[in-house]
């Protein structure tokens, strides 16, 4: 019984972990392209999920259109945010930039609470069957979809950065802004685009989580949970974000297992990633795949 519970929890961890990985990738995308640590990543999930939910419940739009519309909306939202709020701060000290994203985070979180209330709202049912049995384990079809979507996004990112022109331009910008500019890449556009893509992809993750757990302001907690994942993987490694996300997802659930079976402290799985975060920062602050900052004078 207990070992099957453990297995179930590890699978849950992997499913949640892929979602952490996706949000982590979005986070790293912004950091790599524009050197901004985005504390408002969770709000992207939140706003995306609420948009989709609103379209589906208030306007009775079919899921797929609502989904696509909210992605498009978040793309524009990300672009607008970068242009209006982050662009004036280019060149400011890192503390200011961090604090602006924190300000954005509270602002939008409160706005969403105001507009939609504090209670979790369930998505209208989307799948014909709620649960599917795979290898003798009950898996919610929403989870199955979430894993599918996450893997698709990861594959899409890999293709985008390896082969597409814009993706390459973005990598060049991340490598060196001066060199990129001298090759005719518009760094301003790349900055804005990275925010747009990041917001849009986060919205996908937000909708997926919303389908599973219902939409509520708890979604924005994802944006904070993503920190342990990206620090573990290395702040500027997209691949690292995925690996870190998976590890943190599994770690959470294994902690949950030990907690429920042996320790009975309660709530341990919520806090374990932060202990892990402190330990990582103490031992290996640049993470598994991150590049070490070397400062020259």
């Amino acid at each position: 019984m207990t070992s099957s519970l453990l297995l179930q929890l590890i699978i849950n961890g992997l499913i949640i972990g892929t979602l952490y990985g996706v949000v982590g990738m979005c986070f790293v995308l912004i950091y790599k392209a524009s050197q901004v640590v985005n504390f408002a990543q969770g709000e992207f999930l939140l706003i995306g999920a609420w948009t989709c939910w609103y379209l589906m419940t208030a306007w009775q739009i079919p899921f797929i259109w609502g989904f696509l519309f909210s992605i498009a909306f978040m793309m524009l939202f990300g672009l607008a945010l970068q242009m209006l709020v982050l662009r004036p701060l280019i060149g400011e000290p890192i503390i200011s930039v961090i604090m602006v994203t924190i300000g954005l985070s509270i602002f939008f979180q409160a706005l969403m609470k105001w507009m939609f209330g504090t209670f979790a709202q369930p998505f209208p049912p989307i799948f014909p069957v709620a649960k599917v049995e795979i290898l003798g384990l009950q898996v919610q079809s929403a989870y199955l979809m979430s894993t599918g979507v996450s893997l698709a996004i990861m594959a899409g990112f890999a293709w985008f950065f390896k082969y597409s022109r814009v993706g390459l331009a973005m990598r060049a910008t991340a490598f060196s802004q001066q060199v990129a500019q001298s090759l005719g890449i518009s760094v301003r556009q790349m900055f804005a685009l990275s925010w747009g893509i990041s917001a849009a992809v986060s919205a996908v993750a937000g909708v997926v989580v919303g389908i599973v757990n219902g939409v509520s302001s708890a979604l924005s907690y994802f944006g904070i949970k993503v920190f342990p994942a990206v620090i573990l993987g290395g702040l500027d490694s997209i691949f690292g974000a995925v690996v870190g996300g998976l590890i943190i997802g599994v770690l959470e659930n294994v902690a949950h297992y030990f907690d429920s079976q042996f320790l009975h402290w309660g709530n341990l799985y919520e806090i374990v990633p932060f202990y892990a975060l402190i330990v990582i920062l103490m031992i290996k602050p640049y993470g598994l795949f991150g590049t070490r900052d070397i400062e020259r004078v």
């Binding site: 503390i95 961090i98 604090m99 924190i102 954005l104 509270i106 602002f107 939008f108 620090i231 806090i271």
Partner: protein, 356 residues
């Protein structure tokens, strides 16, 4: 960020001593003393509600100054100031419960919080900038979780009772009397901070902020000063939390969330990073902001705007949004905060009508 960016021309100083004095002219000294005296008279004339606001400004201002020493003067960032504030409150309540006299308990609570702050500040010795921000974010969640768990220390979810403030049997409870307690701590800690900044240690902190490599080459011990800034900031937060606990008579986990930490950050951004007086100005702004929104919502009650926006239910969210918006707007349009504006006004009048 620097303190003396806007010195009007013609204002020369010919010795280091003159450059470093706490009060630049006799008039500023007189103004400060007069301000304190006026404040000391305040409870006699002001209503109890206004005095309670002043008390609130007092203890929050102390905590904000602590954060400003960390963020504004030493260039590090902490997103977990509220939990240190909370720790001070719980520690003082805990000590007072175990027989320590309250005035002593407040100071001991400050020292105890310093130790905890140093513990979490240890990563500061290794990492900096955004890594430190993330480490303090983790501290916020870990300590918040600890408060809920450690029922022996914090009374769990029901909270801890803090004994009233008494000296030699004289009871300082009640707004009008407790005001003087806060005022004493406030003046001592503010003068202390202003004094620190003109000492060798204070200059070292600023050097670390401005260019840490150069500072290190000049013989400033980076690890020492970074952790020291954390310690001082936690001390201020702890004292402020303890003052709050003994004022309310009760300390609970509720409200020590990340939003409160961000409010402290908002105070120092609004007031001006790296300015002692800015910490106070920012605190006044942030304490009055909810009052203003409350008054505004009250004025609009029943009108069309009220009906459309559900102002009554949304007022808490409106306040949170305002905090966020104020942080963003100040950082974009007035990154040096109110303190900078104040210096500009002073310089303007000093040179009026010829501004050069």
């Amino acid at each position: 960020m620097a303190t003396d960016t806007l010195r009007p021309c013609g204002d020369y100083r010919s010795s280091y001593r003159a450059d470093q004095t706490l009060f630049t002219t006799r008039l500023t000294l007189a103004c400060c003393v007069a301000g304190v005296v006026l404040l000391a008279l305040a409870p006699l004339v002001l209503s109890s509600y206004l005095v309670s606001l002043l008390i609130q400004i007092g203890y929050l201002g102390i905590a904000a100054l602590g954060l400003n020493i960390l963020v504004g003067f030493s260039g590090q960032i902490s997103i977990g100031h509220a939990v240190f504030y909370g720790f001070g409150g719980f520690a003082s309540a805990f000590l007072a419960e175990h027989g320590v006299p309250v005035p002593l308990a407040i100071i001991l609570a400050g020292l105890w919080t310093t130790v905890v702050g140093l513990l979490f500040g240890l990563p500061a010795a290794r990492v900096k900038g955004l890594y430190l921000a993330i480490a303090t974010l983790a501290a916020q969640f870990i300590l918040q979780d600890f408060f809920v768990r450690a029922a022996w220390f914090t009374g769990g979810s029901s909270g801890a009772v803090a004994a009233p403030f008494t000296i030699l049997g004289f009871d300082f409870s009640g707004d009008a009397r407790y005001f003087y307690v806060v005022l004493v701590f406030f003046v001592v800690l503010y003068v202390g901070a202003a004094n620190l900044m003109r000492s060798r240690d204070g200059r070292a902190l600023i050097a670390v902020r401005d260019h840490y490599l150069s500072a290190e080459m000049m013989g400033v011990n980076l690890t020492k000063y970074r952790t020291m800034a954390f310690g001082i900031s936690s001390f201020y937060a702890g004292i402020a939390g303890a003052l709050y606990a003994h004022y309310i008579g009760y300390m609970s986990v509720e409200g020590l969330d990340i939003l409160f930490s961000i409010q402290f950050l908002a105070m120092i951004i609004i007031g001006g990073l790296g300015s002692v007086m800015g910490s106070l100005l920012g605190t006044i702004f942030m304490v009055l902001l909810p009052e203003l929104t409350g008054a505004l919502a009250g004025a609009l009650q029943g009108s069309a705007i009220d009906q459309a926006l559900h102002l009554k239910d949304g007022i808490t969210y409106l306040r949170e949004m305002l905090i966020g918006a104020v942080i963003i707007l100040f950082l974009i349009f007035e990154p040096d905060g109110l303190a900078h504006r104040w210096r500009q006004i002073k310089a303007y009048w000093k040179l009026y009508p010829f501004s050069y």
